[in-house]
């Protein structure tokens, strides 16, 4: 990253992050039930993306650095999905003797 990022970009990102946090907080009070947990995580993911791209400079980082960031996320997905697919499907097949 050679260029210096303007203060305006930082302030705008900060305001959007606060706004998204406020939206997430407000949504939780609406008791939407069902998908509200997924929606809250989606908004959090949007915040994380903004931080990674602008505050952590990933938008301007060389490809080799971005690959590490994406790989880290991929490992996390493998960890969580690989664990939950067991927990969620335990009851699907009946084992003999059970």
């Amino acid at each position: 990253m050679d260029g210096v990022i303007p203060v305006r970009v930082h302030v705008v990102v900060w305001l959007v992050l606060l706004l998204l946090a406020g939206i997430n907080l407000g949504l939780s009070q609406l008791r939407l039930g069902g998908w509200s947990g997924a929606l809250a995580l989606l908004i959090a993911a949007l915040q994380a993306l903004l931080i990674a791209l602008f505050l952590m400079h990933l938008r301007w980082s060389p490809a080799v650095v971005r690959i590490i960031a994406v790989a880290a996320l991929l490992w996390l997905v493998i960890l969580i999905v690989g664990t939950l697919d067991d927990v969620l499907t335990r009851g699907w097949l009946s084992a003999p003797g059970r």
Partner: protein
């Protein structure tokens, strides 16, 4: 000894390690190393996130009820504080890049103070849990239909927020050290990389908190 007699122009070049060809290459090496470290950190927190996901799936009623016992106000105020500290950290990196020593020190000092404020509020919140008897293993007096599941939720809550707070504490100490070193004119211009790497760590800890809020604080009220 040789370094002392070298002209200023040559001393300035020493910002570049001899194993690198260019400052840009050196910067990319630091950035790459820091991101690999953050990837391992994500795995550390990832274990807790996975455990949370499993128990929330199995004991969803108890986890929702447990989440309702958290005070949203603490979570909301701490989110605002941490997001603002990320702004001041980013401004510190910018000041270092531009060689503005006073702005760098001021931004770092504000960042450290905001970090301490977060930890103070977190400590007050923990104290409230102790007073309410909702600390598994140390002070658990809660009785109710889902008491054991709620206790498990609070165990997850303490494990995740405590690990996060320890990381923030490490961040605050490092920011303080960097601030003191910056007093002597370090980290300016082409030597800004350490501040930028510290910034990456700080923002990472911020991102972890951003996910802890919906998982711990918002889950109960919204369901």
């Amino acid at each position: 000894m040789i370094a002392r007699t070298r002209p200023a122009a040559l001393r300035a070049r020493e910002a570049l390690g001899e194993q690198y060809s260019t400052l840009e290459q050196q910067h990319t090496a630091s950035e790459l190393g820091m991101w690999i470290f953050l990837a391992t950190e994500l795995m550390l927190f990832g274990g807790l996130f996975t455990a949370y996901a499993v128990y929330r799936t199995v004991y969803s009623a108890g986890f929702a009820e447990g989440s309702r016992h958290l005070d949203l106000l603490y979570g909301a105020v701490n989110t605002a504080i941490l997001l603002t500290s990320s702004l001041t950290m980013a401004l510190a990196v910018r000041a270092a890049q531009l060689g503005q020593q006073r702005a760098l020190m001021r931004a770092l000092a504000v960042t450290a103070i905001l970090g301490l404020l977060f930890l103070a509020i977190k400590a007050a919140e923990y104290q409230k849990h102790f007073a309410e008897g909702m600390v598994p293993g140390l002070a658990w007096t809660y009785q109710g239909p889902l008491a054991t599941q709620i206790e498990l939720f609070f165990f997850a809550y303490f494990a995740m927020t405590a690990l996060h707070s320890v990381h923030l504490g490490v961040g605050v100490v490092t920011v303080a050290v960097i601030t003191v070193l910056a007093r002597h004119g370090a980290f300016l211009g082409e030597r800004h990389t350490p501040v930028e790497m510290l910034g990456l760590y700080w923002h990472f800890v911020d991102v972890i908190w951003i996910f802890l809020v919906p998982l711990l604080y918002l889950f109960g009220p919204s369901s």
